[in-house]
């Protein structure tokens, strides 16, 4: 459970976000104004913040700037109706940790928040080896193994597997995968990610082994934890 600050001026959207985050097991506080949001965030004690890009009082980019200025580095998910690549990049450059475009699927909000929270914990743990069940990924030696079997991976497959293993148990949408692993912000077309995931599957699941990557239809992909 995490404490999440939702700074959002549109009441309906804020309501939707709160119910979704509460359903995901988080504790939520809402603020509708940029300045009030900043005060609350500076008060500390939050694990994550969702921040609307355009707010009365103070815009989202400025709120992030002030937070960083005050030495507060709570992870921030920027939420905005502006979807242009430049807007995303401006949001991320200002100090946002991730960027979500309105309208969004509440499931995606929860997933992105989860990914963001976990990223904080990797940084703290800084473990060189990721492990999910019998699957191991050595980030230093750049090697992967399942049990005793060495797995050959191409660089992008390695990056994709790392992202999925770090977020084991979490369903990751194609879009999240494309944005995080490839860092591109456009629609990659019909089934590019599907092809990459199926190649990865072929590499890590030898015939007869339990498939590790699951397709969640209509949602994305996930590796089951443990």
């Amino acid at each position: 459970m995490a404490k999440v600050l939702v700074i959002e001026d549109d009441d309906a959207t804020a309501q939707e976000m709160e119910s979704c985050l509460v359903a995901a097991g988080h504790q939520v506080r809402r603020e509708a104004d940029g300045a009030d949001g900043l005060q609350a965030a500076l008060g500390g004690g939050f694990d994550a913040i969702t921040l609307d890009r355009m707010l009365p009082g103070m815009n989202g980019l400025e709120v992030v700037g002030r937070l960083h200025g005050a030495g507060v580095y709570t992870p921030v998910l920027m939420v905005s109706a502006l979807s242009d690549v430049d807007e995303r990049i401006a949001g991320l450059r200002a100090g946002g940790d991730d960027y979500l475009t309105k309208p969004f699927d509440p499931g995606e909000l929860a997933a992105r928040l989860e990914v963001m929270l976990r990223r904080r914990s990797w940084v703290r743990e800084a473990s060189p080896v990721l492990q999910v069940g019998e699957l191991e990924l050595d980030l230093v030696r750049h090697s992967a193994r399942r049990g005793a079997r060495e797995i050959e991976l191409l660089p992008m497959e390695f990056k994709l597997l790392e992202f999925m293993m770090r977020n084991a148990g979490q369903t990751l949408s194609r879009r999240m995968i494309f944005e995080t692993v490839w860092e591109y912000y456009f629609d990659p077309g019909t089934n590019l990610i599907e092809v990459y995931v199926s190649r990865l599957r072929k590499a890590i699941d030898a015939p007869g082994e339990r498939p590790l990557i699951r397709t969640v239809r209509g949602q994305g992909y996930k590796i089951d934890a443990g």
Partner: protein, 465 residues
């Protein structure tokens, strides 16, 4: 310089002259010149004709008066009078002669009766003869005692006057025609330049840049009236287009929120059903359809975002070969999965001013499209060429020539992609990105297959910088 080289050099000048000579101003100037020349000709003609009449009349009066003086003299005095008359004629402009009844010379400066002259008192112009070496006007009278009196006068001044008038006519014709040509050409230059500017603007509007306007000067002449009319029409078209576009975008924008909510609710429902439940399959089918609709709306809004952008924002020096390689890397696995070979070529080091992220998005769309429409065993090539241009070529079924322009329009889906999922907006996104850069996108028949070319040579026909 060899003649052929001179002809080559002269060709553009000739073309230019031809173009100038075709303008309305040049034609009018030449026409006015001709009318003016005819006017001058008529005026000088009348002046000449009137002067000749007057001079002849005057000469006739002098001749008649002189003849009368001679006629009043007695037969004995007459030769003396003639002699005296000739003696005081220092300039030798007079003809006085007395001839016998049968034309033999008796006195004066004629040795015979000139041919064509009759002794009836009518004046006759005669060419120079051995007797009188100038053109002369003569009258002859028969004296009461039978001899013939001839009185005449040098009229070569009349001939000289005629020559002067003719010369004046010739020179004025030359001056008028030359001035007319030069004036015509120089007066045509400016209108021609303006017509060219109008033509260029018109072409850009025709190519779809509805923000472009025809240049209007402060002269309020007929070209300006024409340009203003066209501008008004384009404004109206732009307004209507903006309304249509605005309506499309509003629909896309407003429907996205409820559709996203519906999708989320349905997704939660589907997850609660469990895998064995047959209703889960239906729910997933609906989710797929909703995703297709949302994908379309996202693409519509993406295009309007691109169109609202200002050119050159975020432009940096970009290597097209690098983009081609990245696109081939990204789509390699997809091509492999489809049994299509994806190749890239092009020498690194080329430089174009571009937004690399946007251009990569455009290129990705083209590559994705090419892979989608190429059957297994086929080949897709993405390469950077000199020009500079970026080419994506497949050997699939291609696009019929008649459809090539249409596929760039929004929502157009050709015969070949009825069965393939997609928003039908991919190429429109590519076109919008290419337009934003001031580049040029064309589709060509690769025989077999389709070749999409992004021509990165700078075109000014883009959005305002």
């Amino acid at each position: 310089m060899p003649v052929s080289a001179w002809l080559d050099d002269a060709a553009p000048v000739r073309g230019w002259l031809q173009e100038v000579s075709r303008t309305t101003t040049a034609r009018l100037t030449v026409l006015y010149g001709l009318i003016f020349a005819f006017g001058i000709l008529a005026l000088l003609g009348v002046v000449y004709w009137q002067s000749e009449l007057y001079l002849n009349h005057r000469v006739d009066r002098i001749l008649k008066a002189r003849a009368d003086v001679f006629l009043r003299a007695t037969p004995a005095d007459l030769p003396r009078l003639i002699r005296e008359g000739l003696a005081v004629d220092g300039a030798q402009i007079n003809v006085y002669a007395l001839l016998s009844r049968d034309g033999a010379p008796l006195e004066g400066n004629l040795r015979r009766m000139p041919a064509g002259l009759t002794p009836d008192g009518a004046s006759v112009d005669l060419p120079p003869t051995a007797d009188f070496p100038a053109q002369a006007r003569l009258i002859a009278r028969r004296l009461p005692w039978g001899e013939i009196l001839v009185v005449g006068r040098d009229v070569s001044q009349l001939t000289e006057m005629r020559a002067i008038v003719l010369q004046a006519l010739g020179w004025s014709a030359v001056v008028i025609i030359l001035t007319g040509l030069v004036l015509g050409a120089s007066l045509s230059l400016n209108p021609l330049r303006r017509v060219r500017a109008l033509q260029a603007a018109c072409r850009e509007i025709g190519d779809g840049d509805l923000r472009r306007r025809m240049p209007v000067s402060s002269r309020h002449d007929e070209l300006d009236m024409f340009a203003a009319t066209v501008n008004h029409t384009v404004e109206e078209v732009e307004r209507l287009m903006a309304e249509v576009k605005g309506a499309t975008e509003t629909i896309a924008h407003d429907l996205r929120t409820p559709l996203t909510r519906a999708r989320a609710r349905l997704s939660r429902l589907e997850q609660s059903l469990g895998e064995a439940d047959p209703r889960a399959e239906d729910a997933l089918w609906v989710i797929d359809e909703l995703d297709a609709v949302l994908g379309r709306f996202t693409a519509i809004l993406r295009i309007s975002e691109l169109e609202a952008r200002r050119r050159r924002e975020g432009f940096v020096a970009t290597d097209p070969a690098d983009l081609a390689r990245q696109a081939a890397d990204l789509y390699g696995p997809l091509a492999e999965a489809r049994g299509v070979s994806l190749e890239t070529s092009g020498e690194a080091g080329g430089r174009i001013e571009a937004d690399p992220k946007l251009l990569f998005e455009a290129l990705s769309n083209l590559v994705d499209n090419a892979i989608k429409f190429t059957p297994a065993g086929g080949r897709v090539e993405v390469r950077a060429e000199a020009g500079p241009r970026i080419v994506v070529q497949d050997n699939g079924p291609g696009v019929p020539e008649a459809e090539q322009a249409a596929v760039l329009q929004r929502f157009y889906r050709g015969e070949r992609d009825r069965l393939t999922p997609g928003s039908g907006l991919g190429l429109s996104i590519v076109a919008a990105i290419v337009r934003l850069h001031g580049f040029h996108l064309r589709l060509e028949d690769a025989d077999p297959g389709l070749r999409a070319v992004i021509d990165c040579a700078p075109h000014d026909a883009g959005l305002p910088a």
